[in-house]
C-alpha cells in the first residue's frame, strides 16, 4: 500500500491530465468513427458495445461496489425492455416509456431486495436468479410469440439514433458509477462489500446502502433493456429475459475488472468484438468457450484486465527505479 501511494504521487501530475484527455478522445472517437465509416455493421458493432457497457456497468455497481452478487440481472433488463416496448407501442412518447422501463425495474428489484438483503448474500443471489427464471417462463408462456414494430416505425427506422441513445446511456451509467464512487455514500457501500458486520458495528446502515446500490443498478439495467427494445425491429418478447444477459454482464465485468470503473468498459469492448468473431466461426460452441473463459477468470485471475494493467505498470515502474539506482 505504502509503495503504491508513493508511485502515485510521482505519477500524479502525469495522470491528472492524461486520464480525462483519454476519456474525451475516446468519447469523440465513439461519436465520430461510425459517422465517418457509415456502414451498417459498424453502427451495429458500436451499438452493441455501448449496450453491453451499460449492462456490465450496471451489474458492476451492485456486485463490484456493494459486493452483492446478483444472478438475475436479466430480470431488470427484461422488465425494462417489456415495459418500454409495450408503452411505446401503445403510443406513449418514447422518452416517457424509456424512463418508465427503468422505474419498473427498480420497483421490481425492491420487491426482491428488501426481503433477501436482510439475510446473507447467497439468498439474494438465489432470489434474483429465481425471479429472472420465473419471469422468463411466465413471459414466454403469456406474451405473444413475436413482437414486431409497426409499419410506419420501420419506415422511419434509424439505427444511428439508436446508437446515440445507447452511447448516451453507456456514458450516463458510467457517469453514475463515477459519481457514486466520488460521493460520501461510496464509503458506506464499499464498507458493506468489505465486511458487513464491521460496517454495521461502525454505524453504517447496511440495508439502506445495499438498496441504494440495487436501485441504481436495476434502474440502468432497465434502461439498457429499453434501448434493446427500441433497437430490435422484431424479437421474441421473452428474449430479454434470457439468463444469457446476466451471464454477459458477469463475464464483461470480470474480463475488465470487478469493482473498477474502467472494467466494464474494457470488458464490453473485448467481449463484443471477440463474440462477433467467434459467433461467425463457431456458432453455438462459442458460449462454451465464454463459459470456460469466465470460470478461468474467476478462479485464476479475478482482477481481470484492469488488474493485469496495474501489475504491468508496477513492473515497469520498478524497472525504472532500478535504472535510476544504477545510474546513481
Amino acid at each position: 500500500m505504502q509503495e503504491m501511494a508513493l508511485t502515485q504521487i510521482t505519477k500524479i501530475s502525469f495522470h491528472r491530465w492524461l486520464v480525462p484527455a483519454g476519456i474525451i478522445i475516446l468519447i469523440l472517437l465513439a461519436i465520430f468513427i461510425p459517422r465517418q465509416v457509415d456502414k451498417q455493421n459498424i453502427w451495429n458493432l458500436f451499438f452493441l458495445i455501448c449496450l453491453h457497457i451499460s449492462l456490465g456497468q450496471s451489474w458492476n455497481i451492485l456486485a463490484g461496489f456493494a459486493g452483492q452478487t446478483s444472478l438475475g440481472h436479466a430480470a431488470f433488463f427484461g422488465i425494462g425492455a417489456l415495459v418500454t416496448r409495450t408503452l411505446w407501442f401503445q403510443g406513449t412518447p418514447f422518452a416517457l416509456a424509456f424512463i418508465s422501463g427503468g422505474v419498473a425495474a427498480v420497483i421490481f428489484a425492491m420487491l426482491i431486495g428488501a426481503p433477501t438483503f436482510r439475510l446473507r448474500g447467497a439468498y439474494f443471489a438465489i432470489g434474483t436468479l429465481g425471479v429472472a427464471e420465473v419471469l422468463r417462463i411466465t413471459a414466454s408462456q403469456n406474451l405473444p410469440l413475436i413482437s414486431t414494430m409497426s409499419g410506419p416505425t420501420i419506415a422511419t427506422y434509424n439505427l444511428q439514433a439508436r446508437y446515440y441513445l445507447a452511447l448516451g446511456l453507456a456514458l450516463a451509467t458510467t457517469g453514475a458509477a463515477y459519481t457514486l464512487l466520488r460521493s460520501p455514500r461510496s464509503l458506506g457501500i464499499l464498507a458493506v462489500r468489505e465486511d458487513e458486520e464491521a460496517a454495521q458495528a461502525t454505524g453504517v446502515h447496511v440495508l439502506r446502502h445495499k438498496l441504494l446500490a440495487l436501485s441504481l443498478s436495476s434502474f440502468f439495467a432497465g434502461l439498457a433493456g429499453g434501448v434493446f427494445a427500441f433497437q430490435q425491429i422484431s424479437y421474441y418478447p421473452s428474449a430479454p429475459f434470457s439468463p444469457l444477459w446476466t451471464f454477459d454482464a458477469l463475464l464483461i465485468t470480470f474480463i475488465g475488472g470487478l469493482g473498477t470503473l474502467a472494467g466494464p468498459v474494457i470488458g464490453a469492448i473485448f467481449f463484443v468484438v471477440v463474440r462477433e468473431q467467434l459467433a461467425v466461426n463457431l456458432v453455438e460452441f462459442h458460449q462454451v468457450i465464454f463459459g470456460i473463459l469466465f470460470i478461468l477468470i474467476v478462479l485464476v485471475f479475478p482482477g481481470g484486465l484492469v488488474e493485469a494493467w496495474e501489475r504491468l505498470k508496477k513492473i515497469s515502474i520498478r524497472k525504472e527505479k532500478r535504472n535510476v539506482n544504477i545510474s546513481k
Binding site: 452478487t69 426481503p115 448474500g121 432470489g127 420465473v134 446476466t246
Partner: protein, 293 residues
C-alpha cells in the same frame, strides 16, 4: 372441484414432490457439507436424464433398471468436476467461498448446457416405456406405475442416505466435516476426500432425479436452470443445512404447487414457488424443517 379431482391433484403433487425432494437432496448435501452453492446442479440432473435416455434408446434398458449405469456414470462426472473446478473453490473461506461457487457454477451451467446442445441437439426427448399408460386405480385416483416407481425409489434413496450418513463410517465422516471441518481434519478425517465424495454423491443423486424427470416430463438441454431453482426453493423450505429435510420439503412444494396450480392456472405455477421462497425468507429464514440439533 370434486373430491376425486382434488385427490388426483394431490397425488400428482406428491409424485412431483418426490422428484423435487431427490433433486434438492443432492444440492443440500453439497451445500451442507462443502458450504458452497452449486448452481450447475440442475445441469447434472439434465446430464443424468440424458444418460438414462441413451441407456433406454440405445441399450433398450428400462429407465428404472438403467439407474444401475446412470448413477455410477454421474458419480464419475461429479468426481471429474470436483477435481477440475470445485476443488479450487472449496479451499476458500466463508462468504468468498459462497460467492465464488455461485459465479463459477453459473459459468459451468452455460458450459454444460451448450455442450449438451452441441452433443445431443436441442430436440425434446422423452422415454416411452411399454407400461407408460398403465397404473393403479384407487377410488378413482390414477397412479401411473412410472410415477409410483419414481416416488418409491426416491423414498428408498432417502432412507438409504439416512442410513449411510448416520450409521456408516464414511457417512459419519461426511457429517463430521459438515459440522466442523477443522475438528474433523484433526480427528484424522481426510476432508478433501470427503469433499470429493460428497460432490460425486450429490451428482449421483441428481442423476436419479434426472432419470425421473425424463420418464415423467421429457428432456432438453435447457431444463437445468429450472431444476436448480426448484432445488434451491426446496432447500430454503427445508432450512439450509438440513440434508434429509429436503425430501419432505420437496413433497410439500410439489403438493402446494399442484393444488395452487389447479386453482389459479398452470401458467403461473412457477410463480408460486418463488412467492413461497420469498415468504419463507421473510417469515422463517431458518427453514420449516430444521430440527433442534
Amino acid at each position: 372441484m370434486s373430491i376425486e379431482s382434488f385427490l388426483q391433484t394431490l397425488v400428482f403433487g406428491l409424485f412431483v414432490g418426490g422428484i423435487y425432494g431427490i433433486a434438492a437432496m443432492g444440492l443440500a448435501l453439497v451445500f451442507g457439507v462443502m458450504k458452497m452453492l452449486n448452481i450447475a446442479h440442475g445441469e447434472l440432473v439434465m446430464l443424468g436424464g440424458y444418460a438414462s435416455f441413451w441407456a433406454f434408446s440405445v441399450l433398450g434398458m428400462d429407465p428404472f433398471v438403467s439407474l444401475a449405469i446412470v448413477i455410477p456414470a454421474l458419480f464419475i462426472v461429479g468426481l471429474v468436476l470436483d477435481r477440475t473446478v470445485y476443488r479450487h473453490i472449496v479451499r476458500l473461506l466463508g462468504e468468498e467461498k459462497i460467492k465464488n461457487s455461485l459465479l463459477v457454477s453459473f459459468g459451468l451451467t452455460l458450459v454444460l448446457q451448450n455442450l449438451a446442445q452441441w452433443l445431443f441437439t436441442a430436440d425434446e426427448r422423452a422415454i416411452q416405456v411399454a407400461y407408460a399408460g398403465e397404473g393403479l386405480n384407487l377410488m378413482g385416483v390414477t397412479m401411473p406405475y412410472t410415477r409410483l416407481g419414481s416416488l418409491l425409489i426416491a423414498l428408498l434413496v432417502t432412507l438409504g442416505l439416512n442410513y449411510f450418513l448416520h450409521h456408516t463410517y464414511p457417512g459419519k465422516a461426511i457429517l463430521a466435516t459438515a459440522e466442523d471441518f477443522e475438528a474433523a481434519e484433526l480427528a484424522g478425517i481426510n476432508i478433501h476426500r470427503v469433499y470429493m465424495m460428497t460432490f460425486a454423491l450429490g451428482a449421483a443423486l441428481a442423476s436419479i432425479a434426472g432419470t425421473f424427470v425424463t420418464v415423467t416430463y421429457g428432456l432438453s438441454p435447457s431444463i437445468g436452470v429450472i431444476w436448480t431453482l426448484k432445488a434451491l426453493i426446496v432447500i430454503v423450505l427445508a432450512g439450509t443445512g438440513s440434508i434429509l429435510g429436503a425430501f419432505p420439503a420437496g413433497i410439500l412444494l410439489g403438493v402446494v404447487e399442484a393444488i395452487s396450480g389447479a386453482f389459479i392456472g398452470a401458467t403461473y405455477r412457477e410463480v408460486i414457488g418463488l412467492v413461497i421462497f420469498l415468504l419463507v425468507l421473510i417469515l422463517r429464514p431458518q427453514g420449516l424443517f430444521v430440527g433442534r440439533n
